[in-house]
Amino acid sequence: MTQGAVALALAAFAAVPALSEIKSGTEFLSPDMRRQQADETRNPAFFWVEQGRELFSRKPTPDGQACVSCHADPQQSLRGAATHYPQVDAATAKLLNLEGRIEQCRVERQGQPAFGYESPELLAMTAYLGSLSRGLPVEVKTDGAARPYYEAGKAFFERRQGQLNLSCQQCHDGLVGQKLRGDTVSHGAGTGYPAYRLEWNDVGSLHRRLRACSLGVRATQFDYGSPEYLALELYLAGRAKGLPVETPGMRR
């Protein structure tokens, strides 16, 4: 116990890795799982992508407008869109992630009730739109209007919290590559989300994963779409700049 605490304390002083050293979560998977992620015939998350594609072209009501009526030819017009999220919404000056943008469009443009965070429909839409950016590098804005959110996310990442008094940084910078509960600690790049996690038997959002991490250090679990996790998501995306989007990913 004491040894473990000392190791963690030392890890806290480990140097922050250069951004070029940040690796995708895929790098920490077994070769077989990597193949499964890349193979559309074996990656179950593609069912969600398929469902999202259908939802995208389906009219919510008989006289309503489908997403494709504005975003024609999404393969072209929305290719790369997911690489810019989270971003600050110009109209409301609030930070929006991809889920938030989809819900905003659904409520304000389509006049429909929001799907709700972590609903199968929203996960499907997010997975579909994310998949349109597969292979393109993450390029979120972390300056200008996004600066305060980025700083808040960075502060969250570095702050010790929970009963175990751990910060995200201690594991995801200091102990990367080491084992934790049978899994390998990664850099915490969210480039594969929404992802199919074997532990969940399901596709889940990045915020669901962040909630699992909060629980792991016995800290407060924030709500889906909460400002805390949104800011953290922006910081993580900022760290992952240049890494390719892998949605829909597979994780353990």
Binding site: P44, F47, P120, L198
Partner: protein
């Protein structure tokens, strides 16, 4: 969106060739037993059997139990004999069945 299937196999093969058939299924495979919030428990609802027939002949059967993960993936092989339909049938707890057909063209 509780059931969906993705069947992957070559469409054109030569007679005598070994064909690999990959079947990925979307199904929650609910093993049941959780509280339903009213004092009872949720019944088990899984796909309990997958069978495949090729030109009317059974070629594959997989009995699934609660240990099988959600969204099961199976892969098997068969020998191409003659052009025909491969019919996949899943049996779900409660008696529902789902069927998908894929055409194998043998030259």
């Amino acid at each position: 969106m509780s059931f969906n299937a993705r069947i992957t196999m070559p469409t054109d093969v030569r007679a005598g060739e070994i064909v690999e058939i990959k079947v990925l299924t979307r199904h929650p495979m609910d093993r049941g037993g959780q509280s339903d919030g009213r004092g009872g428990t949720v019944p088990r609802k899984i796909l309990n059997r997958l069978t495949a027939t090729y030109a009317g002949e059974p070629i594959f059967r997989f009995d699934m139990h609660t240990g099988v993960a959600a969204n099961p993936f199976v892969s098997f092989t068969t020998r191409a004999v003659a052009t025909g339909d491969i019919v996949f049938e899943w049996r779900e707890d409660g008696g529902a069945t789902y069927t998908r057909t894929a055409r194998l063209t043998v030259t």
